[in-house]
Structure formats: C-alpha cells, structure tokens
Subunit: 424 residues, 2 copies
C-alpha cells in the first residue's frame, strides 16, 4: 500500500523528503499546547538520564511540524512552489487501543508557496487521492471538499462578525452528518443565532447536486461579502480544475457542511469517506493554510496539504476483510530435488533473476513435500522441480501452489511460461 | 539507493519486515552491556516523565535485536528458513560526528533456519551484495570472506586450545591489512605463540590466488583437526555456490585474515571493501551465527546475515563526489504560458500521467523564464510550453533544461518523443 501511495505521489510531481525521528523539544512544542503536548515522547541517552538532565529531544507527533522546520531551514535551497511527499512514522505517547497506535504511518503531501500559492493547486490534491485510492482497489469513496471562507463569509454578510461565535457555529455544522439536521438546528438555536439565519445556513450546507450545479446555486445567492466571494471563486477554480484533471464526478463532492481543522485551515478543506463505512471517519484529510512556518521564519509560506492515515485505514480494512490482495514478494521457489544438482539450481536462479524474476533457492536438504509445504506456507505461488529425469528430457516441472496443478515445460520455454503464469 | 537495495533483496527472494522503533528496555538491553548500553536512547511520554517513572522503552540500536524478538514472537507463523530484509533506521545516543550519526539506516538481510541451516545459504549473501553494488554503480569493490573455524581449527590442531589466547590471535590477524605483516608478527610474538606456529599462521592468512586455488592449497595442508575440516568444507561449498550463482570472480576474495565480530560470529564472515578507498573501512559486513534468539526462545535458530551501512557509505561517496547520478523524481513540468489555457494544461498532465510519466503542472501565474528557472532549480529535465500559437499548429514545445535546446513536436507524437528524451 505504501508503494502505491508513493508511486501516486510521484506521478503527480511530488518529491520525497525524510526528516529525523526526533526534533529539538523547543521546535516540536511551539506549535500547540494542550492534548498534543501531553502525548509527546521525550528521548534521552543513557548518559543524560543518569545525570538527571531534562530531555532535549522528542519524537515527532506529526509530519507538519518537521516539514515546517525543514522548509524554514532550507528555504534558500528550495525551489518554490515546493512539492514534497513524506511517508514516515509518527509517535504519540498514548495508551494504545484499537484505532489509536503509539507508532503509526502518515503519508503527507503538501505544496508550499512563497508569499502566494494559486488556488488551482487545491484541485491537485483530491485528484491525487482519487488516483491512489483507485490504484489501491479501495471500496467506493468520496472526497468531500469545501472552503472555510464560505461559511465565515456568509455569517459576516449577515452581520455575525464575532469570530468566537463563528467558530462555534462551524463546529456545530461539522456535526451534520453525525447527529442530523434537527439536532444541529437545535444546537445552533442555543448559540443565539437568528432563526432566519439558521435556515439560510442549513439550506446552504445541504445543497445537493453536481459540483458545478452547487457552484451555480451559490453564485445565484448574490452574497456580496468579499470573503464569501473569495471562497466561491476559489471553489469554482477547484471544481473546474478537477474536471480538467479528469477526476470522475462521483468521487468528489462539494459539501459546505465539512468544516474540520477549525483553527488551522483557512481556505479549502478535504475529508475522505469510504461510502459504505461512515464509521471509519475521514481516512484522508487536509486543507489550505495561510502560513506554514511562521514560528521558524519571517517568510510567508502559504500551502495546501493532505494526509492519508494509512495505519488506521489498513487496520480498518483488515478488520472487515477488505484489504487489497497483493502478490507475494517471492515469485518462484526452486526446490532442491537432488542435492548433487545444487549448482544447477543456483544457475537456474541466476538466469531467472536476470530475466527479471524474484527467485528463492531452497538449499536445505529436505524431502520434496516438505519443500512444497514451505512454499505454500510462505505464500510463494510457483515452485520449480527439476531432477535427473527432467534434465534428460530437457524439461522443468512447474508446480502451482494454489491449485496443486503441475506442468512439464521445455527448459527453453521456462521464462516465458513463468511470465504468463505470474500475470494472470 | 534504498530502492535499488530493496529491489535487489527481493530479487533474491527475501521478504520485507518492519519492526517498531522502540522495544521494551529489557528486550533491548539483554544482548550486551558495555558500550552499546551507554548509547541507548530511552523514551518516555510526558506523563511518565512528570511522574518520575523509570523509562520502559528504548530506541533500537541495531536491527538484529528486533529481528530476534520478532522471530521468537512469531516462530509458529513463520516458514523456515525465514528470509527477511529490513531497511530501517537505528539510533545511538552518541556525540554526532563525521561517520557517526545518532540516527542512520541499516539494510539487513538474514536467513534464519530452525535447528539447522545449510552452509550453501552463506554463498547467497555475497551474490546479493555483488548484484546490488553493481546496480548502484559503485566503484570497484571486493567482498572478503572467510570462515572463523579455519583459524580456530588451525590453532587447536597445533595444540593451542586456550580460547582466550585464540581470540587474541584472531584480533591481531584482523589487523593485517592495517598495520602490515611485520607489526602483526611482532604482536603475535608477544602473545607467546611459538615462532613456527606464527610462520604457519601468517603463511596461511597470506594465501593469494583465485578462491578455488586457495581452497585447494588449504586442502593440501592436510590439517586434520575436525573444526578446520568443517570450516574448509563450508568454505568449499560457498566457493562452488558463488561460481554457480555466476558471481564474477574478481568481486569476492577468500581471505583468511578477516576475523571480524570476534564473539558473535561462528562460521562464515564477510567484509566488503571499496578497492580504491580502504579508508572507508568495511561498507557491508556480516556472518554466520549459531543461535539468533537464545534469550527469547528455547528453539535453536541458526542464521546468516549481512548488513549494508548505507548512511555512512552515502556520506563517504558524497564526500568524494562518487554518488551515483539518479534521475529526478519529476520528469516533466508543464508550464502555464497562458493562464486562460490552464484547463488544457491540466488535461495534458492527466493524459501524460496515464501514459506513465511523472508530471508536474506549474499553476502559479508567472513569466515563462521564471517557470523555466524553477524547473532548472528543481532538477526537472523537461518542460512543456504550449500557447495559442502552438495550439493552432497542433504542436507542443519541449524545452530540455540541461542543454536549453527547444524542440517543436506534433501533439500526437508527444508521448513517444518524451519517452525517447527521458531514456537516453
């Protein structure tokens, strides 16, 4: 799965970086206090521990902080927009439980601009995720996207300018899929919002239809607040770019109800749901931010990013038996039928490797059925058997471990026949 | 480089495993005390630290201990011989300096048997390393190999049975390449070894010639001690298997003077030198061990393994400008000559990706020369330029960033032309 993700990121022109597993404590803990800070793992060498020093290093808890530190540190050498992907493990000092690991993979991509970054970049990320999830053979999924400027703009347009109350409203709207419109309406009433405004808001976030249709309906509202207009123009650019990038319509959904990452994201936001399994939650999320590395550099570095929570997704898929089938690493086991013929088995392996196959020699003296049992247990699909008899006839036996079928093939035709058998 | 190593390991029928970055302190620290223990990094969550608890977890300092723990834990599910590769980072709490990192990659392969493991497996590992180092395009290199039973057997045959003195002798022999035969002879005299025995020993470890020749000379010595005979039979099997595996003669050297891993390895040992740079030291070492996981299971698990110290090798090669040139991840930048044509640039990217290329869209409004400068700085080899004029003519311009050459190509021939340009 990691390989497919990596290849997908590279196909869309992202370059890999890796960062150290630990950062200086001061670098890691400037981003946010609270929950995250409680979950940090600190690191100390034996010597430092014995001397009773305070820890200086801590393990990264996400890939965003290391990215910010990296970009700030290498700003002069990097070409902007800087497009990197990063597939690494992160660490959270929590009590491990189902869906919460202490060590897990994140697969992040971000595009970082210098001073500015065109909203057209915001369309690339969902296009990449659609490509990767399709390659992975995942069940049907939908990438919900929105732009946070829309709801803020709508509220400001109605004179609701209090930032704290705006955030409160977004937090309630975000629950729409979970608790339903009735409960959300009730909660919104409690915030003191005018009933007419609540109606308008709920109507807007419930808009249905194709992405272009929704954009048109939003245009027809003639809401003039500049923040709303800005968000709408950005959304329109994302929608038209998704079409140009040939992303299937059913895979993306302009859904104004999503409002995640309340304080961090400033424009486009994404949430990806597996259609038949809303209980998974969002398996791939992200969004647009104004300034990546304000704590480490004076340059303004706006960006847009998305992250696949692959460890959790893997666990969830495995739990439901939905993991994509992948071929075994080893394709062919060459058995050692007659130990005196070992040099010939080794040569056969060398030849097949040159022809591009992944080949293992069984070199332990053992009965053939034990060797075949080993191949079966190890998940190797094909075994070759060749003794003095076959050598005389100029043939090799191919055993298909799954079907137990056995074929006798002329040695000269071996490579092409193996290729056929491995690609069905 | 990691990719090449990975593909090489898989071609020879090894499967990947990954293990957690931390292990329980008790698991990590049973292996050895002394130097390693002083270099361990301990890990503690914020909560545990505040409560003044002793650390329970520590970061792995090699990949052997996690492998032993893993094999012992999953013994029932694994098929033996178990062949795994592991490319992960390890951690040592030392003062960082040139050639000594606190965090670095190890690329290990091991074959683990249950109760026994045929010496023929010992020939596979050098064959893999020769394949990988050649694929990497490294400078000329030699894998030195030996069998520790030879020197022990020789000494025992001469009545030198004191294990401590035997180890002392091996340690001196190991210095032969560094300090020369004269100084080694002098040191050996000081151990109290008989001069005639020293002569015999130095003659044996200085044998020159092809691997088969040296095996024959060793046979002609008619040394009857069973340990010597056992080592010689194993060496002979390794030499004949190397030939069967089509390993070029000049890449391996039976060299009885290597004696590394004094207490850990029990049979075959390997050391890999870059011929023109002995100052690198061994860049890939390993050997045969009697029992991998004696601390974690009662089963006897003999094995043979080898490890590429890739971080250090990378640094050394880079220092000398010897790093292999690799193509940039991104192959093609589609420039945005006319922002109104953005949808067409995005479609062009989608088409080229379907054709298998790794493609980036430049989506920021910017002058063409700025976009080309970006491509150059980012190391992207080709840029596409297509405006209204080219569209009318049904063509696209390809700019070669290295040579500044520019070609005008019919749109229909674009993919095949790009393929040519990227594979020269």
């Amino acid at each position: 799965m990691l390989d497919v993700i990596r290849k997908g990121y590279e196909k869309f022109g992202f370059v890999p970086i890796e960062t150290p597993v630990f950062e200086l404590k001061e670098v890691l803990l400037t981003k946010s206090g609270g929950e995250t800070e409680k979950q940090v793992y600190f690191v100390q060498s034996t010597g430092a521990l014995q001397q009773g020093h305070e820890p200086e290093l801590a393990l990264r808890f996400d890939l965003t902080v290391p990215l910010a530190r990296y970009v700030a540190q290498h700003e002069r050498e990097l070409a902007f927009p800087f497009r990197r992907y990063q597939i690494q493990r992160v660490y959270r000092g929590e009590r491990p439980q189902r869906g919460r690991e202490r060590e897990f993979y994140q697969c992040d991509i971000d595009v970082i601009g210098k001073d500015k970054l065109d909203p057209a970049y915001d369309a690339e990320l969902p296009a990449i995720i659609v490509h990767i999830f399709s390659e992975l053979g995942l069940p049907d999924f939908t990438i919900n996207f929105s732009n946070r400027k829309m709801l803020f703009g709508f509220l400001s347009n109605e004179g609701e300018n209090d930032t704290e109350r705006q955030k409160l409203v977004l937090r309630e709207i975000d629950k729409l899929d979970k608790i339903g419109v009735k409960k959300v309406r009730q909660n919104l009433m409690e915030t003191g919002l005018r009933p007419a405004l609540i109606d308008g808001l709920l109507q807007m976030v419930s808009l249905q239809g194709g992405n272009e249709e929704i954009v048109n309906e939003l245009k027809n509202k003639k809401i003039e607040h500049p923040l709303f207009q800005e968000g709408l123009a950005e959304l329109e650019k994302v929608v038209s770019s998704l079409r140009a990038l040939d992303v299937p319509e059913k895979r993306t959904r302009l859904n104004l109800a999503i409002a995640r990452g309340l304080d961090y994201y400033t424009g486009t936001v994404y949430e990806t749901m597996i259609d038949a399994h809303p209980e998974f939650g969002s398996v791939c999320s992200g969004g647009r931010y104004d300034n990546l590395a304000g704590l480490y550099t004076r340059s303004k570095l706006p960006g847009v990013g998305i992250s696949i929570g692959i460890t959790r997704l893997f666990d969830q898929l495995r739990g439901l038996g939905l993991l994509p089938q992948v071929p075994h690493t080893v394709q062919i086991l060459i058995t050692q039928l007659e130990p005196e013929m070992r040099p010939e088995y080794l040569s056969m392996a060398a030849d097949l490797r040159k022809a591009g196959f992944r080949v293992e020699n069984y070199l332990e003296p053992a009965r053939l059925d034990k060797q075949l049992k080993y191949a079966g247990k190890a998940g190797i699909p094909l075994a070759l058997i060749a003794g003095t008899e076959e050598k005389k006839r100029g043939t090799v036996l191919i055993k298909l471990l799954d079907s137990k079928e056995q074929l006798e093939i002329p040695s000269a035709a071996l490579a092409s026949r193996l290729r056929d058998l491995l690609t069905f």
